[in-house]
């Protein structure tokens, strides 16, 4: 390494050490965000408030209503009639109503099957669907028991036997935490470099650099390397927290993880650098960084929403989001293992993006004034 590059690196490291915000971005922010999300974000519902209305008390009705008392999924509350339960649903006190109509007992005894009404608040469609599933499960168990007691077979021709691979307990933290690591690193990468070149332009120090013998390639190395080291440190911290604090299983190999993380970090740093070089203005660079990093990585990376279910045009757009490739790699490495069919294409995409961003940033950094 030439003496000039060493000098630049030394200057850049000093700048990092003297403004604590870079260190905070690399270590404090990932740790803080991961702690908050790891504990805060979960799709697994329990103790869902549910109104239970029995219009006419009877043995069957009571036995069904009691099912909800003993399940960890529900926090049942008894209401005396439809109207009061409905008011509770409107006010958001309960998420659903289970209603046993007045003629329930008569119809159970008779030939026709007696309807049990379930009304869910559909505003949060996902939670509503899960609630429907839970209630249906509870109803099925109850039916089986009732019929067993009367020595009648449960007439259900085909039964579904789901087997969930990689995450049999359906623990949502297992896929959310690797996704959050990717989002974290997107922010860290962009934040670290988005302002560095713009700052030098604004303060005029880049002009000063132009009269020295350093080449732009050397300036680029000097800008990327220190933040790369910082970013990898933040990455290691995030992975360690995922493994030991949140107990996410890891089934891949660490060298693949390190390699892919390095690639992704290069993309993220390259993007920040390109923003910086293109805007040459810290204020605008900051605005672009806020808009272009967080929400796209959060919504379009496949960390939360299934990419395959998006309209085709939006699926194309997701290919521009680097986090998409990294999320696929992380979820696979953590939960499934070294599946080359997933890792190789996604890693290739990351290499292409890194070359593109850093190459473009390099082209836009010339050693002359406009």
């Amino acid at each position: 390494m030439s003496r000039r590059v060493r000098g630049l690196l030394r200057k850049e490291f000093l700048q990092v050490l003297r403004d604590p915000s870079s260190i905070a971005i690399a270590f404090l922010m990932p740790a803080f965000l991961l702690l908050l999300f790891g504990y805060g974000v979960s799709m697994d519902a329990s103790n869902v408030p549910l109104a239970v209305v029995v219009e006419q008390p009877g043995a069957e009705a009571e036995s069904f209503a009691s099912v909800f008392q003993h399940s960890r999924y529900f926090a049942p509350q008894r209401y005396i009639d439809r109207a009061s339960a409905r008011r509770a649903l409107d006010a958001g006190l309960v998420d659903g109503i289970v209603l046993l109509p007045a003629d329930f007992a008569a119809r159970v005894k008779g030939d026709a099957s007696a309807p049990i009404q379930l009304i869910v608040n559909g505003v949060n469609a996902n939670s509503a669907r899960l609630l429907e599933g839970y209630v249906e499960g509870a109803w099925r168990n109850w039916l089986e028991r009732e019929l067993g007691a009367r020595a009648m077979p449960l007439n259900q021709p085909v039964m579904l036997q789901p087997r969930i691979w990689f995450n049999p307990g359906l623990r949502s933290r297992n896929y959310l935490v690797p996704g959050l690591v990717a989002i974290n690193m997107t922010l860290v990468g962009a934040l670290l470099t988005a302002l560095v070149m713009a700052r030098e332009w604004e303060r005029g120090t880049l002009e000063a650099m132009m009269v020295t013998p350093v080449s732009m390639r050397e300036v680029l190395i000097g800008k990327v390397l220190p933040y790369f080291v910082l970013g990898m440190g933040g990455m290691a911290l995030s992975v360690a927290m995922a493994l030991w604090l949140f107990q996410v299983p890891f089934r891949g190999s660490f060298w693949v993880l390190t390699l892919c993380a390095a690639l992704f970090l290069l993309v993220a740093l390259g993007m920040g650098l390109l923003i910086s070089v293109t805007t040459r203005n810290q204020f605008v660079a900051g605005m672009v960084a806020i808009i272009a990093t967080f929400l796209p990585a959060f919504l379009l990376s496949g960390m939360l929403f299934d990419i395959g279910s998006m309209p085709v045009v939006v699926q194309w757009v997701t290919h521009l989001v680097a986090a998409r490739y990294f999320v696929a790699i992380l979820q696979t490495l953590f939960l499934a293992g070294d599946v080359w069919g997933v890792i190789v294409p996604n890693a290739l995409a990351l290499i292409l993006m890194a070359l593109f961003f850093i190459g473009l940033a390099r082209r836009r950094m010339h050693k002359h004034l406009e």
Binding site: V123, N155, Q161, L195, L295
Partner: protein, 369 residues
């Protein structure tokens, strides 16, 4: 006094819109993002790729397969012949689930014994997996119903009839798009406010502002106005797109919606300006902006319900203005919730706004270097 403030407001708008790049950044990307995100943000699955492994080869088994391939949610990609073909398909994400019929399935079904069908699901995203299993369950329920009717078997003594209020087809897009109104408004407001004071501090022009006759309160109005105007205009545009482009019903009172929007903007502006005036450099302001914005979004209940969070984190969410605004948005859009119910969301927003705006005004003078 008003003349002074007006001059400051003019200057702030010029700062924001004079530069071509910054004008572009404030206006165009949020609108494009709304369209893209509006289509992306949905938990509903579509064209779920699946494979069939039929070890039964019977008539009834084929009827069940037809029920799946005829359903618009499922998309048959492969017919598997050997056991060892299953793992690579799931591992490489070629299919989300594999439907497996054991030998003797049709026979059991015909003689009236319970027959089992196995569904192997890629659980890497456990939420998607759970939804796919639910979909498979409803295809199966329909199949069972038809089978019972056709073979004149005894139906079970009770049945569960479920209905969803406010969103009868349980379209999760209806849930997310009103949420996006909140997210994008927040991002735009943060873009405009969180860097504004920090830039002046870094360039030294803020000290000049402080020695003018302008009082901190007047500087606050000047600094807050661009964020408010931009936020209000873009928020309104987003509401229009949500209603007319995505067709999300807007059944409630617009006045309540706008009261919520205005209070939310005040709160977000207050936080943005407070961050900005705490920061010494733009880098610190940007960091502060992210440190507020990202948790504010994740803990707002936008994607994952607040009720699922541990009690301590639930308490933290009480400080998050977005949390209240999302309830107002969804309440007004989908439920037609009246002021009397939503007032419980509006007063915390008002308090957050009052506290953060006064903090920002106080910091203008008391944080000097």
């Amino acid at each position: 006094m008003w003349q002074r403030i007006l001059a400051l407001i003019t200057k702030e708008f010029l700062n924001l819109f004079k530069d071509r790049k910054s004008r572009f950044v404030t206006i165009v990307p949020p609108l494009i993002q709304l369209l893209v995100f509006g289509y992306a943000a949905s938990f509903d699955l579509d064209h779920v790729p699946y494979a069939v492994y039929d070890r039964d080869h019977g008539q009834a088994g084929r009827a069940l397969q037809a029920a799946f391939s005829g359903s618009p949610t499922f998309d048959l990609r492969y017919v598997i012949q050997r056991q060892d073909q299953i793992a690579p398909l799931i591992d490489n994400r070629e299919v989300l689930l594999v439907l497996q019929l054991e030998p003797g399935f049709s026979e059991k079904l015909t003689i009236g014994e319970p027959a089992e069908v196995q569904v192997l699901v890629d659980g890497r995203n456990s939420n998607t997996a759970q939804i796919a299993v639910n979909y498979a369950g409803s295809v199966l329920n329909a199949f069972n119903g038809q089978w019972i009717a056709r073979h004149q078997q005894q139906a079970p003594p009770t049945r569960l009839v479920s209905r969803a209020w406010f969103n009868p087809n349980l379209e999760s897009r209806w849930f997310f798009i009103p949420g996006l109104v909140g997210l994008l408004t927040l991002v735009v407001t943060m873009v405009v406010t969180s860097l504004s004071v920090a830039r002046e501090r870094e360039q030294g022009t803020f000290d000049q502002l402080l020695v003018t006759p302008l009082r901190p309160f007047e500087i606050l109005i000047g600094k807050a106005t661009p964020g408010f105007v931009v936020g209000l205009v873009e928020g309104s545009l987003v509401i229009l797109v949500a209603r007319f482009w995505f067709g999300v019903p807007l059944v409630g009172d617009l006045a309540v919606l706008y009261l919520g929007l205005v209070l939310f903007l005040f709160a977000a502006i207050g936080i943005g300006l407070a961050i900005s005036s705490l920061a010494v450099t733009l880098q610190q302001a940007l960091l502060g902006g992210f440190l507020f914005m990202v948790p504010a979004v994740i803990l707002s209940g936008f994607a994952t319900p607040i009720e699922n969070m541990p009690p301590l984190v639930q308490m933290i969410t009480l400080l998050d203005p977005l949390r209240y605004f999302l309830v107002v948005l969804r309440g007004v859009f989908l439920e037609g919730a009246p002021f009397s119910i939503l007032v419980h969301q509006l007063w915390p927003l008002a308090i957050i706004a009052a506290v953060t705006l006064s903090a920002a005004g106080w910091l203008f003078r008391h944080r000097m270097y």
